[in-house]
Amino acid sequence: MEVPILKQGDYLIASVQAALSDSDLAELRDELSARAGRLRCHGVIVDVTVLDVIDSFTSRTLRDIAYISMMRGAQTVICGIQPEAAMAMVELGMTLEGMHTALDLEEGLALLDRMARRHGKHHA
């Protein structure tokens, strides 16, 4: 299941459409890091609203996406984690250290805008 990635201004938005296998997740990570650099994006959003389960491999890949883009000058926001998925993640012992999250896509975009202003980058 491929994840569509849209470019909006200098942000990339990946909207997960269905449950992802481990290889789908790895593909998403690689695609996002390649595109964020190529398109000179300063922000990446991964919308996981449709995921009913976020297991340890998924969390780890989301964290990798955030860290990789941070090393390349872009901020990542994970948005739309469902309340039940969040509870299971906490029980499982997962943390999203150093990562930005938002309730939904709208909040995610607003957060990236605020971070861009703070860093003096203009949202095209």
């Binding site: 449950a19 481990d22 009913d52 340890s56 780890r60 039940e84 299971a88 029980e91 499982l92």
Partner: protein, 136 residues
Amino acid sequence: MASITRKTLVPVTSDVDILAARQQGKTLAVEVGFSLSDLTLIMTAISELARNIVTYAKKGEVELGLLGQGKERGIVVVARDEGPGIADIDLAMTDGYSSTNSLGLGLPGARRLMDDFEIVSKPGRGTTVTMKKWLR
């Protein structure tokens, strides 16, 4: 003694089967009548065990069943493989320990998500993890 009915067997040989196992688990757990939060906990636990099979043993199976004991109902998940086995179970059950480059939350995490958790493993012979969740 608990009775197990409606058994479903999901062969696990690749990452796509992890999704299949978790989906089958969801179907069965819905039938038992679990809440959305419990469904999510069960699916997450199945995901962790099925991934362990793919990562460490390459192939194995996840068996799911409805659990009945008197008036109590629940779900049982058995993850079975004939892989390398676990030499030190206590170590494998420690948060953050991983022999691969994972987060090391799979086994200890799955135990926290479920009510009962039992692991039997023999180095060189394989691993069987049985976990149960009861409807409250």
